[in-house]
């Protein structure tokens, strides 16, 4: 995997959040303020534009740039959370022109750690952590077991989607949905939903290149 993997992944995410924009808005309107689809689309469109202007960056540099772009263009909670996550992931990839399966897992572990540090959310709080953490844990386990990467990523994406659906019966304890108290129960978390899209986009990126 190399710089093109990162660029393709970001393009895939931009396409996915644009396609699901109205669905994310609808989920967010139920328990938040209805702007999640708009913010994620604005952010990843900006990332695609920023990466298109970057001629010859390393994968780490591109992922860091993607994170910085999100911080500067999204706002809300998603901007700092995903922005810091991708920056930390980019730093974990280092300066090498390519990266292997192990490095990819390390980058995603760093991204998860960043989200948990900044957002102070844990599993079960009805946030993006509910999708991201199972995805990263699954990916780590599969890669350590020697599973080929496309299969590992498919299982990680499935774990993210299971975690995403598991947010439905939860009462939110972090983020804007927490203001609703018990009324947040019965709705799927928009942040966990976009997170599952982001993991699924990575799976497609890697599957398409191998």
């Amino acid at each position: 995997m190399d710089a093109a993997t990162i660029t393709t992944w970001m393009n895939e995410i931009a396409g996915a959040v644009r396609a699901e924009r109205d669905y994310l808005i609808q989920l967010d309107a139920a328990i938040g303020d209805g702007d999640h689809g708009i913010n994620m689309t604005r952010g990843f469109d900006a990332v695609v534009r920023a990466l298109a202007q970057e001629e010859d960056g390393t994968p780490g540099k591109l992922l860091t740039l993607a994170g910085k772009t999100l911080v500067s263009s999204v706002g809300g909670a998603s901007g700092p959370l995903w922005g810091s996550a991708l920056r930390r992931g980019g730093r974990a990839l280092g300066d090498a022109p390519t990266f292997d399966d192990e490095k990819l897992v390390e980058a995603l572990e760093a991204a998860l750690a960043s989200v948990v540090d900044l957002g102070a959310a844990v599993l079960g709080d009805k946030t993006m952590v509910d999708a991201l953490q199972p995805a990263v844990t699954t990916l780590r386990r599969e890669v350590d077991a020697g599973t080929v990467l496309p299969v590992s990523l498919r299982r990680a994406a499935e774990a993210a989607e299971v975690g995403m659906r598991a947010t439905i019966p939860l009462q939110a304890r972090k983020g804007r949905a927490s203001y609703l108290g018990e009324r947040s129960v019965g709705h799927q978390d928009p942040g966990a939903t976009s997170t599952a899209l982001i993991v699924r986009a990575l799976e497609r990126t890697v599957a398409g290149s191998q």
Binding site: D35, G75, G76, R176, Y179
Partner: protein, 335 residues
Amino acid sequence: MAMRKFLNDPEQLVKEALVGVELAHSDLLRFDRENQLLISKSAPRQGKVALISGGGSGHEPLHGGFVGVGMLDAACAGEVFTSPVPDQMLAATKAVDGGAGVVHIVKNYTGDVLNFKMAADEAADEGIKVEAVVMDDDVAVQDSLYTAGRRGVGATVLAEKIAGAAAERGDDLAAVAGLVRHVNERARSFGIALSSCTPPASGKPIFDLPEGEMEVGIGIHGEPGRRRAPLGTASEIAELMVEAVISDLKPASGANLLVFLNGMGGTPQIELYLMFAEVEARLSKAGYKTTRSLVGSYITSLEMAGASLTVLELSDATTALWDAPVNTPALRWGV
């Protein structure tokens, strides 16, 4: 159904509105288009502590309407209901710092807190003294280790005025930030919605409110409240708001109060005055003295119908700071 809004392109609404603010109030402030900031014409002033705030747009006149003299030095405008980004807050901090430090007044929403935190860290790296204070006065939300905590709502307006006056008279950074904290500690708010609102970018009302019902315990982003209830009379609703605020604030007996009856954007002033009378009667019956008041739409949720009540327990010091001159687009007296 088409939105009944004055729009050209929803994506340009915030910028286009800020152009209007600058044109209407060019004596007081200027619009930094690149960073989407409103900056006081009098900033930076050497030796004066500067105050900035910011947040999503759609709450007008908050925050840009409070930029001028005796209140905020700059306001960062995000997209509608979306926190601004750290680049904006950093640019605002640098634009207004007069060497005495900058107070960040942050409403307690996850996004606002995270973005302001990133900006404060970067400002500190560049050698600017920043004190951030997070406002969380909304009693509708339970505060515990297991929630995002209470929201920052009406008390933000009062904190910006009172701390702004303290900065104006020359208080240092710790004192100005301390006053923001004091106002936050001695004020509580509670809001009721009679309708939803429609963010221009999505074009749909955030929630559906059937006739004859109200949302109880709302914030300022059109989000549903804690519960839904049958629409009561003004008197019943006032009772609900006063009870929620006073039971949590627990003012000293016979305390002097600043009573702020705020409209959410779609409720006419005549109804706000009616509600104020209902609220004042209850507070007075409970032995409190409403020595200062503010009635009007100052922290809004687009065109939402509804109102919020904020009560601040006053001291002689905060009363004097409230009375001090202020000259901004939305609050102006003593000048």
